[in-house]
């Protein structure tokens, strides 16, 4: 059953060093505020999972929170590389990052299998690809009925899934809409679920067959308006494309990255203060 708590409390109580953590979002509703709070609290040795690791994963990796990453596409969408991810993989800074690399279809399947409490997922794919040569967790089995060969992967069962959503009601039921990505499956697959929301309302007033996470599957709901910045929340605010472009410069060098993280994340109390400080530093910038 979900409690409505502060993000600081939720991360402190529900994310543990060494946990397998999925902070999902397919360019929409990315849980940036929660990512910052994980960094502020100095969580270590996380096994991060995500189909599309982007800026917050770049930050977590660059700040030394993660030792392992299961993913299928790691980049700055529409911009280019994630420099901190690359630095960790190419040069082991600030620490080596073990990669478990899959394709999107396989990752999506593996979340579905996790949500369904199955130990593995089945995929028609990877024929001719080198990925199975470098990822021993991609295996093959034969269909017991047709003898076809199919790829299998271990289900994803995060210790904690963290997502951002538009609304929760006071009882902790969560509503999201628009581009859903794999958030629902990632939540259903997890042992614990943290959801930051734009708004807490009396009644969700959801349309029929809307995408809802009932309080029975949510561990904590945290009110954090704007918590998906620089991503967007459909119906609330749009994507801050210039920030994605600016991130390329911030993250390119270790020193500028560390200085930025110090000033904007480590030295701020929460995401609201982060937004204020960011506004100030952006106004000062040329």
């Amino acid at each position: 059953m979900s409690d409505i708590v502060t993000l600081r409390e939720a991360i402190a109580h529900l994310v543990r060093d060494g946990d397998c953590v999925a902070m999902e979002g397919f360019t929409h509703l990315i849980p940036s505020a929660a990512g910052h709070e994980v960094i502020r609290q100095g969580k270590k040795d996380l096994y991060l999972v995500r189909m599309t690791p982007d800026l917050i994963y770049d930050q977590l990796i660059g700040m030394g929170c993660a030792s392992r990453l299961r993913f299928s596409w790691g980049g700055n969408p529409g911009v280019g590389s994630l420099h901190r991810l690359r630095d960790a993989v190419e040069r082991g800074w600030p620490q080596p990052l073990a990669l478990e690399e899959h394709g999107h279809a396989d990752m999506a399947n593996a979340y579905v299998a996790g949500a369904a409490n199955l130990p593995f997922s089945v995929l028609r794919g990877y024929q001719g690809s080198d990925l199975p040569r470098y990822n021993r967790n991609i295996r093959f089995l034969r269909c017991p009925f047709t003898d076809e060969e199919l790829a299998v992967s271990p289900a994803i069962r995060p210790d904690v899934t963290v997502i951002h959503a538009q609304k929760a009601d006071r009882r902790g039921n969560v509503l999201l809409w628009g581009i859903l990505g794999v958030q629902k499956e990632a939540a259903m697959a997890a042992k614990r679920v943290i959801v930051t929301v734009e708004q807490i309302v009396e009644r969700l007033d959801a349309p029929p067959n809307a995408c809802i996470l009932p309080r029975a599957v949510v561990s904590a709901v945290c009110l954090q308006p704007g918590g998906a910045f620089p991503s967007y929340a459909h119906g609330y605010y749009t994507r801050d494309n210039p920030f994605y472009i600016a991130w390329d410069d911030i993250a390119r060098e270790r020193e500028t990255f560390l200085a930025w993280m110090r000033r904007h994340v480590l030295e701020t109390q929460d995401f609201d203060e982060f937004r204020r400080v960011l506004g100030e530093t952006q106004r000062k910038a040329p």
């Binding site: 596409w73 190419e90 979340y111 001719g128 080198d130 472009i245």
Partner: protein
Amino acid sequence: MNYTTNEIMTVAAARRLPDGAVCFVGIGLPSTAANLARLTHAPDALLIYESGPVGAKPDVLPLSIGDGELADTADMVIPTPEIFRYWLQGGRVDVGFLGTAQIDRFANLNTTVIGPYDHPKVRLPGAGGAPEIASNAKEVLIIVKQSARTFVKTLDFVTSAGHLDGGDARERLKIPGKGPVAVITDLCILEPDPVSKELTVVSLHAGVSPEQVRAATGWPVQFAANLVETAAPTERELSTLRALQQRTALAHGTATASE
């Protein structure tokens, strides 16, 4: 009418998308080409983006694969697992539209690493949806700028299967889709030879010489006997593309959305 090499690439790629086709669209050049097709000869093409929108009709090009514009204009928005499971693996995608970082003579694609996997020179973003698009879409179109760095003799990593080592290699592995049927670049159009499956230049864009293509290809590239010149963009194609890019630049505050 003057046009750039990027423009002819995008126009030539757009022309390959049949009207009514279900098209799995990657972000960037593929998305520009697919939407140009939709706005010109293929109004009934059904564009699918892996983040969930099916039947997206964006008025401005998305900067990311999950822009709100895609959801707002789509016939429906479904969870990503359904896109990959019910649509792509389900065999319902006619055309997969891909970009790439490296391509070899059999149109195999690398978007994973430059250099050895464990000690990469450049760590690229990775597979994304490409391996399963490459295997499960009924056919695949590739759109990529041509250079010797991109068109390489040997891939550092095969992320997504093209025609593997050529011939009937795909059939032997029982890969469902036909694989790449055309590679459209800023210099020319290449198609796999019907038998060997080796990429062959079938059409040169106006003003491009065979030498230029050879210099931009890391293997001794073959030219078709009946090599033609790519039809120039029509005024409608060009004005539609430019208007789309102008709307996009205005909306996103950047001129690079189509790159």
